[in-house]
């Protein structure tokens, strides 16, 4: 029985609803809402909260949408109110830069997920080294981890550790992985990383596996888990943090959070904020089933409405074309190409 085998293990929770949750809100969360959510989570003992545009540093763009406030405004407002929680940020090289990381640090951010696609860790050495130089808690975050095998993930994680990362994450951006996939990758990392380097798991709930996958990660040696209260995140959301905390409590895993306070935050603050109920529906299930980046969900629904091609067809085609995080422009492009093939759209005369 797993309850006894994991009893006493310590796990650090990292809430994503003020970063990944921005995707589910089309980047429209106000500073007041951020402070309210963060204060509640801080009071519930959540040790890390991620606060930025959904795409992180440099995320404000036509490609990823514009939030009503700058990352600096959000981070400053939240960080100044925290009693114990550390504020973290997301930085994807190619989108965010070291200048923006410095600025986030100046506003009070003390932890960073430096994120690359799961085969492209070597685009992150500058940023990881710079984060460490600033003294930040630094994670190397390998996105779309289902697209690299365990040996490949281990090799990429080793690179990030070499650049200075304290923690390496297996990131299931598409919510595609099953517990065995997670275990194999975490185990492969554990085998090659230094004992003091932590391993984390970031799940999406597109196949309803967020909690099971996170437990599998802990069994294989992970000590950090990302989730978001009420699951507010891209696709069918992240691992719902309050549910995960309850499971941990039952299994004797020590997270240090106050379960009932988390439940209250989910029910009283987060759920009323949602524009749509974040859940496994036809489109988010398609993401998980086809292995597509969770953020593509709302973009595909908009393209479907505009060009008359069903969102599920667009998502399956994006999966087939192996599009990865950051390629949101290819959603409209793909929808238009499909609409032309179906006689719904005319070619511009060249």
């Amino acid at each position: 029985m797993s309850a006894s085998s994991l009893k006493g293990r310590k796990v650090i929770l990292h809430d994503m609803c003020l970063r990944d949750g921005m995707h589910a809100k089309r980047e429209q969360i106000s500073v007041d809402q951020m402070v309210k959510v963060a204060t509640a989570l801080d009071g519930a003992g959540v040790p890390y909260l991620q606060v930025t545009h959904g795409a992180g540093m440099g995320g404000n763009s036509l490609q990823h949408g514009f939030a009503p406030h700058t990352n600096e405004e959000y981070i400053s407002a939240v960080a100044s109110k925290m009693k114990q929680a550390k504020v973290s940020v997301l930085l994807i090289p190619g989108l965010g830069t070291m200048r923006e990381l410095q600025s986030a640090y100046d506003c009070g951010a003390r932890s960073v997920h430096v994120a690359t696609h799961c085969t492209e860790a070597d685009t992150s050495p500058q940023h990881i080294a710079f984060a460490r130089k600033l003294g930040m808690d630094t994670t190397g975050f390998l996105m779309m981890a289902h697209l690299n095998d365990p040996a490949g993930i281990a090799q990429q994680g080793k690179l990030m550790e070499g650049y200075g990362a304290n923690t390496v994450y297996v990131t299931d951006s598409a919510g595609y992985m099953l517990p065995e996939d997670v275990k194999a990758r975490v185990q492969a990392l554990r085998d090659v990383l230094k004992p003091e380097t932590e391993i984390g798991f970031h799940g999406h709930h597109n196949l309803g596996m967020g909690i099971a996958n996170s437990i599998a990660a802990i069994e294989a040696g992970a000590s950090r888990i990302d989730g978001s209260v009420a699951g507010l995140g891209a696709g069918a959301g992240n691992t719902p943090l309050e549910v995960f905390a309850a499971v941990c409590e039952r299994m004797g895993i020590d997270t240090g959070v106050d379960l009932f306070k988390l439940m209250d935050a989910a029910e009283d603050i987060i759920v009323p904020m949602m524009d749509h109920i974040v859940r496994v529906d036809r489109e988010s299930l398609t993401l998980g089933f086809a292995g597509v980046y969770s953020t593509f969900l709302l973009h595909s629904k908009r393209a479907a409405e505009r060009f008359g091609v069903p969102a599920r067809d667009i998502l399956v085609e994006l999966g087939r074309k192996k599009m990865i995080g950051g390629q949101e422009d290819m959603i409209m492009d793909t929808a238009m190409t499909m609409a032309k093939e179906r006689g719904l759209l005319k070619e511009v005369a060249a």
Binding site: L62, Q63, H117, T123, K322, T337, V348
Partner: protein
């Protein structure tokens, strides 16, 4: 016909692909390849293609510049060493085509502003970045019709086509390209995003260009201008192709024009998916040719910069 003799600095993907482009030029001849690793594959390939090589960096080339009559050099090393390379070669009267993000000289996108640089007899011109070469012509095609307050470009590159230099210096790529979208593209504010995709088989280079026009866009004139600009780029990159758009829509930020392009390369050094490599080397070659034609016609005479 007499050709202008060239040196290539940096024996990676870009330097190697340049050999093929320059060998085909009616006015340029590749003579030297400069590297820093005697065992490098790039130097071996350059030797097999008939070039003289040195593994001593630019200092290994300097003693041969005058006797071999090198008049144009292409630098495909890194932003960190470019300034020094340029200073040393300019002193000997060699014109520098800079393919690093250093951007110490004026920024050049051939169909937009090459003529201007040739007329000014610049001794160092910068080619910005692959994404810059692939997208700035389109930004300019829009901004020459109507004022553009903001332009944003997204370049998707096949993982196999992105060398270690670019990977380790993505911030420099971002800064240089964003700035060039403003200075050469004509947008008041520019932003550049790069995505590296490892899919197999490798994906062809894709570029999306978004412009926000100040006024409601004149759809017919902008479309015509974009199509005309694409033809200009196709003169030196035949695989430069419009996939979708221009699409016009209203966003919370304003009037948006979106253009979706792809760039297929000629398949010289890397296969055709690596359009990013080709558009950079083809633009650099096109730039050098314009200067070479002027030199050969006696219209411009390169001079050493020692007096300056």
């Amino acid at each position: 016909m007499k050709k202008i003799r060239c040196a290539l600095i940096g024996s990676g993907n870009i330097g190697t692909d340049l050999i093929y482009k320059i060998q085909r030029s009616p006015v340029l001849e590749p003579v030297w390849m400069v590297g820093i690793d005697p065992e490098s594959e790039g130097l071996a390939r350059a030797r097999s293609m008939g070039l003289k090589t040195t593994a001593e960096g630019v200092d290994g080339l300097l003693p041969h510049v005058l006797e071999d009559n090198i008049q144009i050099a292409f630098d495909a090393t890194s932003a960190y060493v470019h300034a020094e390379n340029s200073r040393k070669l300019n002193e000997l009267g060699v014109l520098m085509i800079d393919l690093t993000p250093a951007a110490i000289g004026p920024l050049c996108v051939p169909p937009v502003n090459l003529r201007e640089h040739a007329d000014k007899l610049e001794m160092n011109v910068n080619m910005i970045s692959c994404a810059g070469q692939a997208t700035i012509p389109i930004v300019n095609a829009v901004s020459r019709i109507q004022s553009v307050g903001y332009a944003e470009i997204v370049a998707s590159l096949a993982s196999k086509s992105v060398g270690p230099g670019t990977r380790a210096n993505l911030d420099e790529f971002t800064y240089t390209t964003s700035n060039a979208i403003e200075v050469v593209g004509g947008a008041r504010k520019g932003k550049a995003l790069a995505i590296i995709n490892p899919a197999e088989p490798p994906l062809i280079m894709r570029n999306t260009i978004y412009c926000l026009t100040d006024e409601v866009p004149d759809e017919a004139r902008i479309t015509a201008s974009v199509l005309e600009m694409i033809k200009e780029v196709q003169k030196y990159v035949p695989g430069y192709r419009l996939v979708n758009g221009p699409v016009f829509d209203e966003t919370p930020k304003g009037h948006r024009v979106s253009v979706f392009m792809e760039v297929a390369g000629l398949g010289d050094y890397l296969p055709k998916y690596a359009g990013n490599l080709d558009i950079m080397t083809a633009a650099a070659t096109r730039t050098a040719e314009m200067f070479a034609e002027e030199i050969l016609a006696g219209k411009i005479k390169l001079q050493s910069m020692e007096v300056a």
